[in-house]
Subunit: 394 residues, 4 copies
């Protein structure tokens, strides 16, 4: 992952930097860079994005916040035992894991934390700026891959941690991506500040499995004028995510995104519920069963069922790398505000955009093309490593 | 289904007119016209096609060829008992079923038929022209919804029945739609004549269930850069179709279309086979199981399975009505040759066109729009009821 | 269903007599008696029970309680439209449906009911006794097939309706079967009285679908020494039952039974939850998905999934007829107390008995045999139509 | 795996000794003996068999024949990469793998083999006897775990390899177990000799996945008097087994066993086919989908589907260990001829016995008990290590 002196490097600052997704991101980026694995699952490595001016995988530098303290190499070992990472890979990139591990700073608030919200934001922003300066990065993108928080309690309650991090990103002058259903930049306080900043942001809630399927099956029913009566789903998952989502409040946040995909693609909300069960025995593996009852011609009742068995971290990691690269390049070329061309990646996308996956893909490809054309003007203008820029955006 | 004197009426001539699909087409058209059921499954009844100048459902007149002699009302009764048609519907449209039944002529060749191929083509074309003239139809579309034939034996062997009918359509000056995997207009003899005619045609093999799914799931894997390793499928179906496809030669024709969808959308042919089993106990209902093994990031193995339980006749019938209307209108507006904008409907579409369902839908909508804009010029120019036109195309 | 004068007839008094299950019971009993359908699903019609001395289907007379007032023939019409009853059957047995309809008495307590619990019990018992006397029945069995009640609130709260009916059965001197998870005879008040009575009773919660499967799959894993880690399930159902079980309290009662089967057959309670979703679009049809994660040799993770698509009323009805016949005969031959040989039929069986389906079946067959051997002695001794017997048991 | 001098040791001679199943057997026996893993999947390690007098796992000594020459430790490495063996296990038992590897002799006939059938049998028998003598084993059991052979071509054709090995077992005086669908001892030539020998034998075709399920679901439908209309199945598997069974002749042998289970438990052969597809991408993992269409009360159509995802080697290995121990003990206690009490383990069991899994389990437990009671008499009488015994049985 060494870069020549002249090649600008880009930071990827992960909130939840010791989690399964983050560990897979760091391991995978190094493994693909080293040629150990093909870049399966990375859309930005397909020919359509060759000329988009994206930062190279070898130019990404990782750091982040986490409240846990399990070292990344150890975490990678656990993921290898669980079948998430292939045998031998974590060992092969041990140096890169150790390097990223050194760049992880304590997150918050932790139990008994006496710091005010402002102090926390300042501390987090300082961590990010320090990371950027020490590594002489051109810019850094903040990506939230932490466990899902419970839905917010409403006005007057403390800011959720995800929003503190989002505000820290703004303050450090960094683009922001929310890969989780947590509130982050959607909180009114953060949304106001985001609007006033000149920073691009994207989110929320990565579309990795059941919702990915729904984003192609919903349009299929709509395009064929078939009438969906009920769409029911059950998700079984272990790992930390299963436990976090066993909290009904956290699950509610997640399910809202899933429902939105159906409502947007079908034009109506069918009957049916979505369950998320914590099944520790499944480890990092997830099974999602969907049962769709629909009416055909003359009201004939038909049924489609889908069973998706995947590993969430392995599904999320390449998308996180895609998003970091696309958002970094968007920043470089002067984009600001919600990046609605990234709806392809999210359950509940910011901004306006189509809801079917195919249209979202077309929009993404168009966006990639426009990022390439924008080259030249943007880079100079918005480099955060230029004097007097980084950390003074707000 | 009465039409005012001034409203031009359009014939729908069904090859396999006493089969499940044809019976459902006739019953359903009448039931929707009468307001007994919403037009679920008919894409041409959605707002996108309001201004396409399509013939009204109430202006369609049905007839066709079949080698069987079970009366349509009786067949509709059987389909009602089997759950394909809702209780009461066939009875409510008994008059329309009887009317269509009167317009069904004996097909062929039958066992021991001594007529030459030319005589058969002539007889079939005469039947169609007679139908058009007696009903003073503006034009008629020939649609093949007969059982799948075995794949052709190659040069020198007799023309398959489906090709005889296709040639009869050409001779009668009628547009042609092949909803089955049979050879029809694809036979070199017919293909040559079709080229020389000024008639539009479409096909082949309606995309109703498993392949419909594949046409949205294939692009999903491709767009997400996920690597499909194996795609296996089993279809269980009863009814006449199950028995016909239990013949390996007939199944081969069908499976070629299914494979084409994967090859075109994935850009590669994955491992895996497709089975079609005749299971008489299932009647007109079909279960299709697909098992897709794919690699995610760093080669992690994941699996998607789909189970589709549908009624083929109920899935096919609205598409047949769509195709009849679109093809009739294409003829009216002067289109000729392969209608590649109709790839949305077929496993193995004629002409050039995208292979993902979403792009096919967009193309269909564009086509519908263009059909509306073409109005005026086409209708007068190509009416087959005008003097000296019908039946003299070849 | 006419019986000769000399043949003793047996009453089947259904709690929830206007529901789907009860309607299917009455329709089916008449249809099988008339030879319109084979007795599929009725274990008591298999050769193993030929000599058990069970009352003939043609000797069963139906009545019952319900708080609804939809006439049985109308209910049967709805079930026919929903595909639960085959077309034509309800019409063919219209007379029997009307006869049963005339024997249904208002249930309770209804909203605003001012009657005391004692008054209700007395009224219910009077209804049953009146039914027995008017038809000169040898005996009557009370069977609860009403919607599931919420789990009881504990000591001091009013007796649940199901328990009022159970007490009425005791007072009327009738054997009692609880086909639902409601409390019924399990309430301490009723349990005490049942013990003092000389009446047989059975229950609870019919094992019709998902739990039936669990009762054979659980033993399979245990016998093969495979280690089940997690057993998760989701049930989708419409009809009244779906709505009733959408109430978490009612679902809790049901799920306890499902869990018991796993605990008893596996010898341990695996991870995993069970969901019951109300999906009105499914009508009387139910889909149950089970996902079982188990360890094989050396800890290899494996998965079994089952999808059960059935119609609960059609699954329950033949079991209800079985139970009515077996319990009537048990009463006739002098059995009293919990009939633990009937565990084959229940999720949460009374008394002691094996939990695997196969052992339960063997026990049932043994019981059937013993019922046959007991003939002669029992009938005279326990006939409830003899002078001074009926209704004076308590 | 050290055994005290006085403890008699038992040989397990594996035909196909370098295959996945054999490698898993050797690895697993050592790992369980060393306490690295619990004996999941081994029925003989459950309390019911404590007093059966079975040889201890630590007293088993492995050897065998194979035509391949991949060393066992290397094969174990491949299985570890494929997820069949847990990480670290093969390394931990490297010594035991190497020891077994040294005891593997070249199988046959190989391509261009000029030896006659008699010469091959003699050579194989000599290998086995040599193994027994060198290790001073009390006895050895021959177990066929090689790839499935094509079904035999009938009278006059050469003896299949599996039968040559079976005859060698007889000649060496060893009990024989056929875990595959190959002909082995079922060939008339071998069957005749087996009858005349005093040796016990068992088989054939291990019941590990789809058929295991069928052996509990078939009885369920029968016991509930539900009428199975069609039972269809598809198996997807990679590994060597997938390739071997892609040969229709080999698949035919396998499917006959699967069908027998249905015919025996249902009392009728339902509609439906079974497919076995070679899907190399699945490696040693297998997916089996079953679709069962059945009629309930009044002919209502219902469906059960099962999806079994397992690792065949991990399912087979503990059963092979069970069978080796049970058969060795049966030999020790003087049993001869077909061991019909072992039907629990086989698709197509030798001898007479029940076909439902539960009854088979009960019979197995009874057999285990009788093996314990037989102790004393048998051991002395039948030890093959006694002077003049081994290899002279025929």
């Amino acid at each position: 992952m060494s870069a020549s002196l002249s090649r600008p490097r880009v930071g990827v600052w992960l909130i939840g930097a010791r989690g399964s997704v983050a560990t897979t991101v760091v391991t995978g980026c190094a493994a693909v860079t080293a040629g150990l694995h093909p870049p399966t699952g990375m859309v930005t490595e397909t020919p359509a994005f060759t000329d988009s001016g994206l930062p190279a995988l070898s130019d990404l530098v990782f750091g982040g916040h986490d409240t846990l303290d399990c070292p990344l190499p150890k975490r990678a070992e656990t993921l290898t035992a669980g079948g998430v990472l292939p045998p031998g890979t974590a060992t092969a990139v041990a140096a890169e894991l150790a390097a990223a591990d050194r760049e992880i700073r304590p997150g918050g608030p932790i139990a008994g934390d006496t710091r005010s919200e402002t102090e926390l934001i300042t501390a987090f922003a300082d961590d990010i700026r320090d990371f950027v300066h020490r590594h002489a990065l051109e810019r850094a993108v903040v990506v939230n891959v932490a466990s899902t928080e419970p839905a917010s309690q409403g006005p007057g309650s403390p800011l959720p941690a995800s929003t503190l991090y989002a505000l820290a990103a703004l303050r450090a002058g960094c683009p922001y991506v929310n890969f989780t259903p947590s509130e982050g930049m959607h909180h009114p306080v953060a949304a106001r500040q985001a609007e006033q900043s000149a920073l691009p942001y994207a989110g929320r809630d990565g579309k990795t499995g059941q919702t990915l399927l729904r984003a192609v099956l919903g349009p299929m029913f709509a395009q064929r004028a078939l009438s969906v009566r009920a769409w029911s789903g059950t998700n079984l998952l272990g790992g930390g995510d299963g436990a976090a989502l066993a909290d009904p409040a956290a699950a509610a946040a997640k399910n809202a995104g899933k429902e939105r995909v159906l409502a947007d693609t079908l034009g109506t909300v069918p009957e049916g519920e979505v369950h998320i069960d914590d099944v520790p025995a499944l480890g990092d593996w997830k099974t999602a069963w969907d049962h769709i009852a629909f009416d055909g011609f003359l009201g004939t009742r038909m049924i489609l069922q889908t069973i998706w068995q995947g590993c969430d971290s392995a599904l999320a990691a390449p998308l996180v790398l895609d998003l970091a690269r696309l958002t970094a390049r968007a920043h470089e070329t002067g984009r600001s505000g919600p990046l609605d061309a990234l709806g392809f990646y999210f359950k509940d996308p910011v901004g306006e955009g189509p809801s079917g996956l195919s249209e979202q893909y077309e929009e993404l490809v168009r966006f990639g093309r426009s990022l390439g054309q924008a080259d030249g003007e943007g880079r100079a203008a918005r480099s955060v490593t230029g004097p007097g820029r980084t950390g003074e955006a707000l």
